[in-house]
């Protein structure tokens, strides 16, 4: 059983206060109907109401946290289910009515009839209803208010999470590190080699346009995909000079196949960031498309430093694996189990990593 927090106590007290106010109002109404003194009616009503509240609300927490089957966090943890609640409401209001009346008598000096001293069973039950009905109403009111608060909190949390992941995605797509390094190179080239600077700027523009537009089109051709990757790698090549070589292999027969835009971009970025930038001698990136039966195989490999064992086996994705997760998610939502992404050490002597995407062929 988890110890109650400060927040739990505050909520408990606020429910007690609400119960007292509710009971007082009920007492006023009752005094009008029964033509009794309003202050005495309020006093008895509040005494009964508060004891009912104490039994039902505190009983609910105790039952939910000890007896009822252990449930998840949040609301479920404090809600034992309507079955238990029914028992609590009936027992709580009977006890509340009885002891509340006794308490009221002690305070006023009167002797009112109570459940046991009432003339008949029918009379006792009628008296009990005066406690039972308001108790049930109040319980239902607090229950639905709690559900509403939980829903609002859940919706807010979901919204916050969505905004955060959108921001993260945008940052990943724009790759600030690559962007500023490219701009730094451009700044130098402008004076040194204006023609080269202009070509680089054109490539940067094409890259940015493709990145920002990628979410707006559902698919583009493999040829377009390879062209965009070409722009990106040309930018990297200005920076890495002879440390980076690139090889594309796109058979003409596959060039018009449609794939989700920039599907391969995160994989290529990983090759650059984790494979080649880290390697002193640099290396090569190969991007190839091939057909295997009804499947399209897209291979992205580098000859860089390779996967670290720990990073590859870690459950929690590291910063650089955000891209991989994103590719997997896209594949999953578009093709389900028919598509897959495998990332592994490249099987030959040159080392590095090899990522293979397999997806069903959708003709143009």
């Amino acid at each position: 059983m988890k110890p109650p927090s400060q927040n739990d106590w505050t909520k408990l007290l606020s429910r007690a206060a609400a119960s007292a106010v509710f009971s007082a109002l009920f007492g006023v109404a009752l005094s009008v109907v029964r033509e009794q003194d309003v202050w005495y009616s309020i006093l008895y009503s509040v005494c009964i109401g508060l004891i009912c509240w104490l039994c039902i609300d505190v009983g609910r927490l105790l039952v939910a946290r000890t007896l009822a089957a252990p449930a998840g966090a949040g609301r479920d943890r404090d809600w034992p289910g309507w079955g238990w609640m029914l028992v609590l409401i009936v027992a709580g209001s009977a006890f509340g009515y009885g002891s509340g009346t006794v308490l009221g008598d002690r305070l006023t000096g009167f002797r009112s009839s109570n459940l046991l001293s009432a003339g008949s069973l029918r009379e006792s039950l009628t008296l009990l209803l005066f406690a039972l009905v308001p108790a049930a109403i109040a319980t239902y009111f607090f229950y639905s208010r709690g559900v509403l608060a939980d829903r609002t909190a859940a919706a807010e949390a979901a919204q916050r999470q969505a905004a955060e992941s959108r921001l993260k995605l945008l940052e990943a797509q724009l790759e600030p590190h690559m962007l500023f390094n490219t701009l730094a190179n451009l700044r130098v080239l402008i004076t040194l080699d204006p023609v080269c600077a202009q070509a680089m700027l054109d490539q940067l523009i094409a890259f940015l346009r493709a990145t920002l537009g990628a979410s707006r089109v559902a698919a583009h051709s493999l040829r377009a995909e390879f062209d965009r990757l070409g722009d990106y790698l040309a930018l990297i090549q200005v920076r890495m000079a002879d440390r980076l070589s690139v090889r594309f292999d796109l058979p003409d027969a596959l060039a018009d196949l449609q794939i989700p835009p920039l599907l391969l971009q995160p994989l290529v970025e990983n090759c650059v960031k984790h494979g080649l930038e880290a390697a002193i001698a640099g290396g090569r990136i190969e991007i190839a498309a091939a057909r295997e039966g009804d499947d399209l195989l897209l291979r992205v490999r580098d000859t860089g430093v390779g996967l670290s064992r720990v990073a590859a086996h870690r459950e929690e994705p590291a910063a650089g694996q955000f891209g991989l997760a994103q590719v997997r998610e896209r594949l999953d939502s578009l093709y389900g189990a028919r598509a897959s992404l495998c990332l592994d050490a490249a099987p030959d002597a040159e080392g590095g990593t090899l990522a293979v995407i397999r997806l069903p062929i959708v003709s143009a």
């Binding site: 600030p176 590190h177 962007l179 500023f180 390094n181 701009l183 730094a184 190179n185 451009l186 700044r187 130098v188 080239l189 040194l192 200005v238 920076r239 890495m240 000079a241 440390r243 930038e277 880290a278 390697a279 002193i280 640099g282 670290s308 064992r309 720990v310 990073a311 870690r314 929690e316 590291a318 910063a319």
Partner: protein, 270 residues
Amino acid sequence: MSRPSATALIAEDEPLLAMSLQAELAALWPELRILAQVRHGEAAVEQALCLHPDLVFLDIRMPGLGGIEAAQAIGEDWPEGRSLPLLVFVTAYDQYALEAFEHAAIDYVLKPVQQDRLAKTCARLQAALGARDGAHDPASIDATLGQLRDLLSRQGIAAAPVPPLTVIQASVGSTIHLVPIGEVLYFEAADKYIRVVTAAREYLIRVSLRQLLEQLDPAIYWQIHRGTVVRSDAVAAAMRDEDGRMQLKLRQRPELLSVSRLYAHLFKPM
């Protein structure tokens, strides 16, 4: 200035950017002599230790050793009795690193390099070099080491917490050996591997020391060198040799472990 003109080393993997930084520096600080330009972290360490520049400009992301790791190696292996070089980090975009630099009061410049920002950095560096002019000053060395320590201790804070390692899994031939973490006396980086040393034998695992450190309890496992982490209760004694370098004697192993000057402060009488 009465001292001979200041000297600098530039470590930047992108040739155009290295060239441009050198050109900007030449314009702002004509007396500064650039001793060398290097393209990766290992070369930066080697050249710095060989040429003893007054300033080292270090790109944070370089192939092999990154700028911060290179700075650590330079700090650890710098000859005793010589003033450490002033470090200036260069980065395009590394939020966490920038926070660490601000905190440790270490200079940095952002790429693309803005001339007025670089001018301010140069003025600060000139003042700092002027202040330490003349004989070397142990206090300034301590201060620089303190900055470096501060910077290093902030590495990896940004990473998500990883559950502590309880068992090391090391392959020997086709067998995977499970070594309880409590049996390990020390870890030592060796090329791409880490030697995991217990009282009876040793194993090789293929991770980086940085990744390993994230999964070790810092109260029990102490880093004593950029390549060595020791279990504190495996240490019997710390002593200094004739050159003033600190060595650790272990309870269950005959070999001595060297403590770098960055971590020597861990061992002092209570």
